[in-house]
Symmetry: C2
Subunit: 241 residues, 2 copies
């Protein structure tokens, strides 16, 4: 069994995690099975019960390990939460930024608003497709506003500020007539729309699918979201039918 | 001290709560102080810790009452949760439907999409303006996807299906070219956008307000949301800049 050391953060190929993320995690995600088992169990438990609602004992029971092992690997419940947050969060952010870079390098036209929306959303839907772990992570993101601010604020800033700024800059380029503050608002609305939807597809089935004899899948959800969010981002106050 | 009886639900003036809501609540919200104290404490606790993460003991401690009083008034933790959910939820739904009825009775033009969006959102912002209680209720709504489905599904259906159907019908009238299924999707996205934003205004301040020297208030949030959601609801797949 290889024991993870508090080394600088290992990173996905091509990723350049921000310094903030590195400082916050402080341990290397490795192929260590016990460590991964604890992370998976904690991801599931934190997403269901929240940080405050999850006890050390519960974390140990869910992972079927001794509580001391959790302290050994993660130092504290906070440390474990941070590691859970950053493990998939860094992948998400890396993919978001890589897709944006590809769009910006593309010959010819600069990215349209719809291109940018698709690039922003696709990595989150890929996480959802990864199965339960990805879904638990997305649920964790969808409930961040219920977590203690002092726990999540640095994590969110370390992970999400850079992609937010780069996407807003690209949107600004595509829509120079809309001020940056409005674009920040609209990005927040967009994130709310996608996180709520992706975390709560059951409700959509209740509302529309079953009544109309149709199921729905992630591809339809993504396609519908892209149209909706693009419409919202490009809206002018005069519109309204 | 007047003890609430398991009578049919009392209702706000002019409200016509669905039969489902009546059956689910089963008790009359009264002016009973102890009962209201328990409801307020439970609203705060459930919104912070979730249904599963909240114990009977915690509920009693937060309300500073004996656990047996909670059973006396609400029968069970489930019963208490339902009462918390329906207390402000019925007001919200009542106001939403009343505003829609007013729009539909208006002489002249039928309601525009923007009219409908404003009517849908305004009662939620009014709740937010009511202070901590309203905010806790909205946070509870924003975390429904983290609660046990068997607990929330009936409640959501009893409360929210009727306004959803009536708003979708009105939107359909304003936009006959968009199919009903797409309108349901877009309403779900809209609800996600507003609940996430309203529950998490702190994040918006971090992202934009402080960096740009501006605060923000609920009026600005509502105005920005109305434009965004109207743009999203009226979007056509060909748009994309």
């Amino acid at each position: 069994m290889r024991i993870a050391k508090p080394d600088p953060l290992s990173k996905p190929a091509g990723a350049a995690p921000s310094k903030g993320a590195t400082q916050l995690l402080g341990r290397r995600p490795g192929r260590n099975d016990t460590r991964e088992t604890i992370l998976n169990a904690a991801e599931r438990t934190f997403s269901a019960c929240g940080f405050t609602g999850t006890s050390h004992r519960q974390l140990a029971e869910e992972a079927a390990v001794n509580q001391s092992l959790i302290f050994h690997y993660f130092g504290s419940k906070e440390g474990l939460y941070r590691s859970v947050f950053l493990r998939r969060g860094q992948q998400l952010v890396h993919d978001r930024l890589a897709l944006l870079t590809n769009l910006e390098k593309r010959d010819g036209e600069p990215p349209t608003v719809k291109d940018l929306v698709r690039a922003y959303l696709t990595p989150a839907f890929d996480l959802k497709r990864q199965g339960q772990g990805g879904i638990h992570f997305l649920n964790l993101q969808a409930r961040l506003h219920t977590e203690p601010t002092e726990l999540t604020e640095d994590l969110r800033a370390a992970l999400y500020d850079e992609p937010m700024q780069r996407y807003v800059a690209a949107l600004q380029h595509a829509m120079p007539e809309i001020d940056a503050r409005t674009l920040y608002w609209r990005m927040v609305f967009s994130i709310g729309a996608y996180l709520y939807t992706i975390a709560d597809l059951h409700r959509m089935r209740v509302l529309s699918g079953e009544a109309r004899g149709g199921g729905h899948d992630l591809d339809e959800t993504l396609a519908q979201l892209i149209v909706f969010i693009t419409g919202g981002l490009t809206a002018t106050p005069q519109d309204g039918r």
